[in-house]
Symmetry: C2
Subunit: 420 residues, 2 copies
């Protein structure tokens, strides 16, 4: 949606993965839109459905039920969130509303509340459209799930693009004039705004599950096991409404992401039809584009690793994606976290130019982490080398070299620029 | 060097990783150029050295010796290879000679003998310079180490660029006029050429090792163990002159590549100074750019998998790297090979547009193969998703889905375009 708002994606129809008509013609699946499930009766294996167009309520029986209610944008309980020009960005209709407002009201100053991934994407989106952009966060850094030094690189880049960052800011109200937004009120005063985007996060839509007596788990999401079964008989849940397991810590977590939803849905469908598919969980991989920067992470950060009982060893490197003699290379910063005792890889963070293909180098590390590889093993990965694609020793391998040196307590190591 | 020849890389100095002077100033290492080691005396721990400028010969003692003699281009024993305008491409001086010949002789027709990776890179290089290019090979396909259907995609692409492919051609001689090349003689007649590049392959430089009584191994390379030790006491070998182990088959192989040389050199150096580093080997990962196509492979091909005792299951998919709504996506073809019994991943081949980032998706699969993952596991990799980087289910995961369906004998699967 940020790309639809900025015009990179021209038509919002392209954002609709499949229409009810396509479900019907391709798979003979009936999709009832404008119908709301009001209640679930686990004992009776029925749901109460209201047809929103007619108001008619009726019971519908099920053999097995999937709850895939997703998540919704969090709106803080402060004054002014209903003012014209105040938005969240979660549903396709939100982006249509924002686009219409941009065209009709021609706002000049946008304030984005929340410097997480949606906030970062929307900084780029609004700046591309020529708006004066301010992003604010309660935290002392942008991208609160990145480590502070990596977040500083992102902040420096968005400030270069003219975005103002106001950190450690608590929003106490949205101020308006005649029903339209005028500014964002913080403990430090009022910031003028013609458009306010609340990008503070999302919450699982799990009320209907709780009402039916199903157990909730991490962050209030619907608790499911590895087969996506809830605590209710024949009731499954998948997607942004459901919990999952962190594969490194083994803990129950709620990490709603589209890539995870798709995998959960697939495993869930198999199990609902009698399969025995297990979805082991996630390791918290994510990536976001912010102007020409790629910002991503996978696995545990340093603090999380310590908290989970590991003794993290951490290295940070800056490396070029290609040798100097080949054009089009990019610079990327990589932070790698391993257990200092066993050498097991635990996590990675990247901030790099788009041209550095930091996203896919993060993927390489994500697979190595998933496999339980050690830093020593990382040194010998047989990755694809030719000058248009990488340096002869690619960045994950260099990171393995340096981490191994660090863990072994060696005084010198072979860095991206050769032997120190 | 193909990029230096075509002008993508402007200065050949940039192709020199480090000069003798840099070795001295950075690491206090003496590099003696224009000195040839004539013989090794393993019992006496000495080498006989000839200073090529003075002709003086002397003995030099060693505690431990590294043989890193590399490989050299293979020149077939046919008439005419010494003619002006006939080249190999292995050393930096080869590329300087080719560049000088291009400038001075202004050749119009280039014939490349050998349709392997160097041949493919040079098709692009010569075509970029405006030459009429013909590539020929003894095999019935280009890129003989790719499977035939994948090779056909490469052939179609280079033919689109105006390159003529002559396959199943045996070169019997190079024909010349007045000392300069005139054409390439095959069993089917003479092909006119003003420039001939012999890109038939390389051979390990192992004669000096054999003369010293060291054991040779696969393809005549110097046999080494996992610690890069030859069969001679205190003598190590690393790089293109040395054997290695295929990590999937466990067999001794010779697969000379720059990325492998670097890893061998690092492990070897550690062991020469008392370390206990093991280099487990390679899985045959490689990639080459051919015009705007990325062509790569890792692990075993179908025939190799069968030969190694597996029962390979093979799937081929064509997929887009990004969702339709985001610009800049590319198409890639992926062939995935797994053991039909255990589901263990064995190999992958890719042919994709540069924009599809097929090289890094190959790397993701290379790590999964290295880790001994199954196709089932591949389905649940937690890869980094955002619209500028991938589809919400990325191509390796889709391949895991389809391969799992194939192995389980399911009738339907979820392909790149949704549920079939």
């Amino acid at each position: 949606m940020p790309y639809f708002i900025s015009g990179v994606t021209a038509d919002h129809q392209n954002l609709i993965a499949r229409t009810p008509a396509q479900f019907k013609s391709m798979n003979d699946i009936d999709v009832k839109t404008r119908h709301r499930v009001m209640a679930i009766d686990p004992a009776g294996h029925t749901v109460t459905v209201r047809d929103l167009q007619t108001g008619h309520e009726y019971l519908e029986g099920y053999t097995r039920l999937l709850i895939s209610t997703g998540a919704e944008a969090f709106v803080p309980p402060i004054e002014g969130t209903e003012l014209e020009g105040v938005f969240t960005l979660r549903r396709l209709t939100d982006s249509l509303r924002i686009k219409r407002y941009l065209a009709d009201a021609r706002p000049r100053r946008a304030v984005i509340v929340g410097a997480g991934p949606i906030g970062m994407e929307m900084c780029e989106s609004f700046a591309t459209l020529g708006l004066e952009v301010t992003v604010m966060d309660l935290a002392g850094q942008v991208m609160p799930y990145m480590s502070p030094d990596m977040a500083e690189r992102v902040q420096a880049r968005i400030e270069e693009e003219g975005v103002s960052c106001l950190l450690e800011q608590s929003v106490t109200a949205i101020a308006g004039d005649g029903g339209a937004v005028r500014g964002v009120v913080t403990s430090n005063g009022e910031i003028k705004a013609d458009l306010v985007l609340l990008a503070i996060g999302v919450r699982p839509v799990s009320g209907i599950a709780a009402d039916a007596g199903l157990e909730l788990g991490a962050r209030g999401a619907i608790r499911v096991d590895e087969q996506m079964r809830t605590t209710g008989e024949d009731i499954f849940a998948a997607g942004d409404c459901a919990t999952t397991t962190h594969t490194i810590t083994g803990r129950q977590v709620w990490l709603p992401l589209g890539s995870t939803s798709r995998k959960q849905g697939r495993a869930c469908a198999d199990n609902m039809f009698g399969g025995e598919t297990r979805f082991a969980g996630v390791q918290g991989t994510s990536v976001v584009k912010c102007f020409d920067l790629t910002v991503g992470r996978t696995g545990l950060g340093e603090a999380e690793a310590t908290e989970a009982g590991f003794s993290p060893a951490v290295i940070s490197i800056e490396a070029e994606s290609l040798h100097q003699y080949y054009p089009g290379r990019g610079t990327m910063n990589l932070k790698l976290i391993a257990d200092g005792g066993s050498g097991r890889l635990l996590g990675a963070e990247v901030v790099g130019q788009m041209s550095s293909v930091a996203d896919k180098r993060l993927d390489v590390l994500a697979v190595a982490i998933d496999a339980g590889m050690t830093a020593d093993h990382l040194q010998y990965l047989d990755l694809a080398y030719a000058p248009p694609y990488s340096t002869s020793v690619d960045i994950p391998v260099i990171a393995g070299n340096i981490m191994t040196g660090k863990i072994r307590g060696m005084e010198c190591g072979c860095g991206p620029h050769g032997l120190d």
